[in-house]
Amino acid sequence: MAKERRFIDPHKVKLIPGTEGWEEMYPYYYLFGKGKTERERYESGQLWFYDGVHYPVPMHPLDLIWDDAWHLTLSGFVSKVFAIPNSNGIDHRILNGYIYLSGTFPPKEEEEKRIPYVMARTGHYYERYEELYKNWMTKMMAVINEMKSIHFSSSLPWVSDDSYLFEHKGYFEADDILRAYDRMIELAQRAWQLHMEMDGLAYGAYVNFIYTMRDLFPDVTDKAIGQMLTGFTGEMFRPPAELQKLAKSARELGVASTLLACDKWTDMAAKLQKGKTGQQWLAQVEEVREPWFEMSIGGGWHHMDVAWNDNLDVPLAHIKNYIQRLEKGEQIDRPVEEVEKIRNQVSAEYRSLIANEKDRQTFDQRLELAKRVSIFPESHQFYVENWFHALFYRRAKELGQMFVSRGVLKENEDIFYLSRFEIYPILYDVLASWCTGVPPIAKYELPPKIVRRKQIYNKFKKWNPPPALGVAPEVVTEPNQIVLWGVTSEKIDMWLKAAEVKPGKVTELRGFAGSAGVTEGTARVCMELEDIAKLKEGDILVARMTAASWAPAFNIISGCVTDIGGTFCHAAIVAREYKMPAVIGVGNGTAVIKTGDKLKVDGDNGIVSILKRAK
């Protein structure tokens, strides 16, 4: 019998002092129980793993809308729509603001019953994947366009607009505003329904091919497999490609030096407006901003991850980096034909190394299927997590502004401290008070609540969520958690081992070899974006994970360590681009390493050594 692998029970995690009552920020069904019923027994018997892949920081109540959406839609497409026999998807909980996930299963006897359904239904989709993807685009664009059409005015008029009366509508603004809010929430749900319509099947085929490669060629790297699948034609590659084009044209038009001299987009634009070539370049930007600057500066999962369009300093930093690399004579982009040539070469070469004829046929079939579906993994994130989320955040801020105008919030972004279920009654309160002339009740109740929630949130940020809670199964069999989060027995053992050692005693951390090379330097632990301002030349960045907005840090640091991520994560990609060592996914680096520690980062073997502790 294997030893039971037990993490701290989710019900026994201690309250962070000063966060009493935090639970009210989130829906009741996201909380771990406090009793001794069937519910708590279920919770104690599950393995709950922290989803740092999507959520490196604690959740703001309104941002939870995405997690809650796929809580329902991923599980629904798995268990109800495609009737995958051995999974019911993923259950969700929140603890001290951090999301924990756990795979769920149907009863054994149901597996058999689902088989004819899953075969017919997945077969139907795979057979016409290209056609269905085209339909998907139409459906998704309809959602985006409708979201674009929704607006909240920053204040309410003193008297209802003429149109309501003279067009005999029979209702007035309040009705439209309530409907707009409902619709905005519905569209968020719909976007995530659509996300899951194609997602599971695409990843199924994709991951099946990855495992096929691993069966044929044990230890083959993800990078090598990635080269065989990536076409770089999906929309996720467009935004950086547009920045590369703008970098090139800035040099051609002779405005590169102006760009390089500015950190703020507004300063730069003001200077460029003065000259003809500058205006020309700005006009080129205007042509591509919609939609290609709707790319998030982070992962898109938090409202702080605004789009480039909302923070133009970020694309400016990227363009400047491309210009500098062009000046050094580096090639910043790869033509699609070249990528395709390499892809075909690598595939053909691995294929030629398969000794068994039957295996070669199976390989061909599976590669072909994976390539057919690859358009979805390479595209959908742009539409859902980037473009749609950015639109949602903008609408939420508009609504926040309206609340500010009625005295119920101090700042428009305070709205993110309210859950989507809490906003509707406040909106109703505000609209009724607009009519009655009596101040909204929220004016008295909300501001202190927001202050309190901000205090709690800041305490959450300093907390290190344990990688897992509850009891690990002997083998992990729920497919989603294996392929999407990499939860394997090996990983579970790693977490357990890390949990046994006191953080102060650790001298070595292991993760993925994200980017080759070895370097030594002083650690700086950066828990959030603002911290990167403190980085000094040659420091080693230690972070939970990084996102596109962290790119400027890579000009300063000499190496990088992250808690979360794999070969394809942002930190690994950028570190390889900058040719600096990186160790990725060490688990608890930000907890174990302290700013000032002397580190050795071995990007060849994925080892971080703490050479000397900071005093």
């Binding site: 995958i84 026999p85 051995n86 999974s87 597996e111 899953v118 075969m119 997945t122 077969g123 795979y126 057979e127 099947l201 199924g204 085929a205 991951v207 099946n208 495992y211 096929t212 069966d215 044929l216 060629f217 044990p218 230890d219 083959v220 790297t221 990078k223 090598a224 080269q227 690598v346 070469e349 691995y350 190394l353 000794a355 068994n356 039957k358 295996d359 199976t362 390989f363 079939q365 599976r366 072909e368 299927l369 083998v475 992990v476 069999t477 497919p479 294996i482 392929v483 939860v487 394997t488 027995s489 090996e490 080759a516 060849d604 073997n605």
Partner: protein
């Protein structure tokens, strides 16, 4: 053909003039080296002392019969008797002076080699090259002797000793077990410019533990290559992907000893590796990849998986410092019929569902 040679029999031949098909004359190892030099691989230059030279030893002195008698009626299980016979035969061969016709040619070739490098007494490596070894299905690997850092007149003795090594106990026993006739197996000797190696080792162009053809497995240690082959040290090991040339895994071991050339005695000696170098990788990543790339090219040239010995010269810049000392076909996996590793329903979409159902981690 060498100028001024009066004898029609070819006792010595430049390695670069040896072909794959010459293995009966120069032995498998030398034939291979010639093949590689022709294909443009960085192989240290040298010459083969052919089987004709060995035959000359046998016929001219009438040794053949004495050898046959000594081996007659041996029992493969009687190791003591085999030891005695082997020692006796080697003694007989080593007692003979090198036949003059052979000696003349060896000296001339050696002088030419020294001349090419501009060194009066060029250090060379002397290795036996059997006619039955290195063939698929019969791995005679390491059955015979090797002499390193041989110079001047020592060369003649080393060649004779190599010829005599056809009768080491293990070679005799191996032939008996494999059913080769002693008198049908001849020996050639390879004389190759010595690489003064900073590090050396071996590589397989296949993963020998599981037959995975997409990997190159490399082992290396400090100093001359003998310490790796002989198992005196636990070498550093690298697993390299043969398609995308990524180092997948590196195991750096503590390498306590190395074989080096002693400055004073000019002999190969085994010394302790200085402590600061024991745990240092003996190759840079750049060198690992370059050697692996050579391995892949050699495999492509022979169209079969190879077992290759390489060395990194001390005094040359990268990548000119990389040398291939020898290659032979990998014999275990290339013989085996490869079974299917993938389960399939025949339909790639149904396979996805099957995969989903059976995934475990």
């Amino acid at each position: 053909m060498l100028m001024g040679s009066t004898d029609q029999t070819e006792y010595v031949r430049w390695l670069k003039d040896c072909n794959k098909s010459d293995y009966l004359l120069v032995g498998g190892k030398n034939a291979n080296l010639g093949e590689m030099i022709k294909a443009g691989f960085p192989v240290p230059l040298g010459f083969a002392v052919t089987v004709e030279s060995y035959k000359e030893v046998l016929t001219k002195s009438g040794l053949a019969k004495e050898i046959q008698d000594a081996l007659f009626g041996l029992d493969v299980k009687d190791t003591e008797a085999i030891d005695r016979a082997g020692q006796y035969i080697r003694g007989l061969i080593e007692a003979q002076p090198m036949p003059t016709v052979v000696e003349e040619q060896v000296r001339r070739y050696y002088q030419d080699l020294c001349h090419d490098y501009g060194i009066t007494e060029l250090p060379v490596a002397v290795r036996s090259s059997g006619t039955a070894e290195d063939l698929p299905g019969a791995s005679f690997a390491g059955q015979q002797d090797t002499y390193l850092w041989v110079k001047g007149d020592e060369l003649l003795t080393a060649i004779i000793k190599c010829q005599a090594s056809l009768f080491t106990s293990r070679a005799i026993a191996y032939r008996m077990r494999m059913g080769f006739l002693h008198n049908k197996v001849l020996i050639s000797v390879g004389v190759q410019t010595m690489v003064n190696a900073k590090a050396a080792g071996v590589m397989f162009t296949i993963n020998p533990t599981n037959g995975d053809r997409s990997k190159i497995m490399m082992g290396g240690s400090w100093g001359l290559g003998e310490s790796v082959v002989s198992g005196e040290v636990t070498p550093d090991e690298w697993k390299v992907d043969k398609v995308v040339f990524e180092i997948i895994h590196a195991t750096i071991s503590t390498k306590r000893v190395e074989r080096i050339v002693d400055q004073n005695s000019e002999k190969v000696i085994t010394v302790d590796v200085p402590s600061d170098r024991q745990d240092t990788p003996c190759l840079s990543n750049e060198e690992v990849i370059e050697i692996a790339k050579l391995g892949k090219r050699i495999e492509q040239h022979y169209d079969s998986a190879q077992d290759i010995e390489w060395a990194i010269a001390k005094d040359l810049p990268f990548p000119q410092n990389i040398f291939i000392v020898q290659t032979r076909p990998e014999t275990v996996w290339s013989e085996r019929k490869v079974e299917s590793k993938l389960k399939t329903t025949g339909s790639s979409t149904a396979d996805v569902v099957e995969f989903w159902l059976n995934i475990k981690a």
